[in-house]
């Protein structure tokens, strides 16, 4: 419990660090940052939005520390300011809606690729040096080394444009109304296949390589030799002696991978015009909608910290040594 509590305090500090970056960045800009942001947005904006923009970045009367505290206060009460592009919509509602799509896409892809990648890694390590191992290892290298942008564009080109098997964008058929109907869910799944395949391709290599390397390092341990010497079946030794222990460091590498997963999913969404955070962010960058760009950093940091915490909890559950600590 103490372990989890310590992690929670640390995550809180990390979140405040991200918020602090957000607070100071506009203040480091030369000139009057709000005016610059306001004019670079380009489009006609109502004067109220200038005021809203000032509030978003904590430009209130008073000394700097007071501005900082006001800013932190508004963030912790869930107020991220108002979007310039979608004025007067608050940033939280613009991003909150998109977050659901991103988490859905990301979560499913992570679970699928983690399960599949770990399994491939186990088998590859167990049959090290075999054809299977070579194919899996080399395939994993290729999959991880190609940028997510490239993977998504190539997958889209082949299956979306050339073969025409799958739709080229959107999360569902735009002519359908969102409803809990078989038709709508079918359309969701149909539109989700390409982004999902792309994201899994980007992610699976990393999980496979980590698991394979962890397994191989463990195969030299005495307790594996012992298990074999006892005459246990291969499958039993592989899964319950080697894989079980190799899984632990893999889970902690999952925590570090979450940042990559987020990045990959942002890019995939832009390419497939998927209505998640990535796409909102892309539109915000094009429109220089600074409050939304800053808000996404906070929301994604929070998402990542929550995911990290889930990994911490599962680590405690998987590793009995941590229970007492």
């Amino acid at each position: 419990m103490a372990f989890l509590l310590r992690r929670l305090v640390f995550y809180m500090a990390a979140f405040i660090a991200a918020a602090t970056t957000n607070f100071f960045l506009p203040r480091l800009m030369p000139g009057d940052p709000v005016q610059i942001m306001f004019s670079s947005a380009g489009t006609e904006l109502p004067p109220e939005s200038l005021q809203a923009l000032k509030l978003t970045f904590g430009f209130v009367d008073g000394p700097l520390w007071q501005q900082y505290l006001t800013y932190l206060g508004s963030i912790f009460t869930g107020d991220l300011g108002r979007s310039i592009k979608y004025f007067p919509l608050p940033v939280t509602s613009v991003l909150g809606h998109a977050l659901i799509w991103t988490v859905g896409l990301m979560g499913t892809a992570t679970i699928v690729s983690f399960a599949l990648g770990t399994f491939l890694g186990i088998v590859a390590a167990w049959r090290r040096g075999s054809k299977f191992d070579v194919v899996v290892s080399v395939g994993a290298i290729f999959a991880t080394s190609v940028p997510a942008v490239v993977t998504s564009l190539i997958v889209l080109f082949i299956f979306g444009f050339t073969l025409g098997w799958f739709p080229n964008g959107y999360a569902a058929d735009p002519s359908l109304d969102p409803a809990f109907s078989l038709q709508y869910i079918g359309s969701l799944a149909y539109h989700g296949i390409l982004p999902m395949v792309t994201l899994c391709t980007v992610l699976i290599g990393g999980f496979t390589v980590t698991m394979r390397n962890n397994m191989i390092n463990l195969l030299g341990e005495d307790y594996i030799v012992m298990a074999r010497a006892k005459g246990l079946s291969d499958r039993h030794v592989m899964l319950w002696y080697a894989a079980r222990n190799a899984l632990l460091p893999t889970v902690s590498s999952l925590a570090i991978a979450i940042g990559t997963i987020l990045g990959g999913s942002l890019v995939t969404e832009v390419v497939y015009n998927y209505p998640g955070l990535g796409n909102i962010l892309y539109q915000a960058i094009l429109a220089r909608d600074y409050p939304v760009i800053q808000g996404q950093l906070l929301i994604m940091t929070a998402t990542m910290l929550i995911a990290n915490f889930i990994v911490d909890v599962s680590y405690v559950l998987l590793d009995p040594r941590l229970k007492g600590a």
């Binding site: 640390f10 080394s145 195969l219």
Partner: protein, 292 residues
């Protein structure tokens, strides 16, 4: 180095990278076109005149590809070097000094590790405005050192216990000297892996930032090629050469770097080799084959 040349993966990786470096350096000899000038009609398909076709505004795609390789390589290796430098220095200092220094550096390292990298870079790049490749390299160096610092620190902790470090301490060598001449040479394999990994990361991230519209659209690099092609809806209008060219170039470079990375990893950690080393284990593992 000798080990590196004997490893087949490393060799293929090195050949790929050498090829790209050669093409980048020899760019003016390989094409007569100026990569920024309009030299043809918009979106011409590949032909003898323009072997990879033209872009939306009539620039030669092949010329942009080979001149763009310069930017991608320069940013990749420049930022990679910077990331490695910062990460190694912080890792060795915090691992060797220990105590308060270690606590402070480790705290910041762990903090940077849990803040998602791409969104942070997006915010930085957005405030800088159309970031040139040089600026992108600098902000990558400033934000991406955490992983390297962590692994270097762990390695330093174990090297620190060795006798030769103890004896250097007893002879009264200054701390900076112990860190640079005693510790650093002994963590060099970790530094190498960190460097190659950082180069891959920098190349991918530069392309991603530019693709998302945060780069300088006039710069000639593979990322801006992707950005301009995507903005011109190259796939929907059937101009596949415009968008697939930088795609394959990035994939090719990424694969070359990763093969090298994998090979260095294998050399540093012999158990990972797929070849027929460690006969005993191959035999043991093989006996399990086909009985899954």
């Amino acid at each position: 180095m000798k080990n590196l040349l004997q490893n087949r993966k490393a060799l293929i990786g090195l050949v790929i990278i050498a090829f790209i470096v050669f093409v980048a350096i020899a760019a003016p000899l390989l094409t007569q076109y100026d990569p920024a000038a309009r030299t043809g009609r918009p979106h011409q398909a590949p032909s003898l005149d323009h072997i990879l076709g033209t872009t939306r505004i009539g620039q030669d795609v092949f010329a942009r590809l080979i001149y763009g390789a310069r930017t991608s390589l320069a940013v990749g290796f420049g930022a990679g070097l910077l990331i490695t430098l910062v990460g190694t220095a912080l890792g060795i200092i915090s691992g060797y000094r220990g105590g308060k220094t270690d606590e402070i550096i480790s705290f910041f390292t762990n903090m940077v590790l849990v803040v998602p990298n791409l969104p942070l870079l997006l915010v930085l790049a957005a405030f800088i405005g159309q970031a040139s490749p040089l600026v992108i390299a600098l902000i990558l160096g400033a934000t991406s050192w955490a992983w390297g610092a962590r692994v270097t620190r762990a390695e330093t902790l174990s090297v620190k216990q060795k006798d030769f470090v103890k004896s250097a301490e007893m002879m009264g060598e200054p701390q900076w000297r112990i860190m640079t001449f005693e510790i650093f040479p002994n963590v060099i394999s970790i530094v190498g892996i960190n460097f190659i990994g950082s180069v891959i990361f920098a190349i991918i991230t530069e392309a991603t930032l530019e693709f998302l519209g945060l780069g300088d659209p006039r710069a000639i690099s593979w990322g801006t090629m992707l950005y301009n092609a995507q903005k011109a809806s190259a796939l929907s209008v059937g101009a596949w050469w415009d968008i697939l060219t930088p795609c394959f170039a990035l994939a090719f470079l990424g694969i070359g770097m990763s093969l090298l990375n994998f090979a260095v990893d294998e050399i540093a950690n012999p158990r990972l080799r797929t070849g027929n080393h460690l006969k005993r284990w191959s035999l043991l593992v093989r006996s399990g084959e086909g009985r899954l």
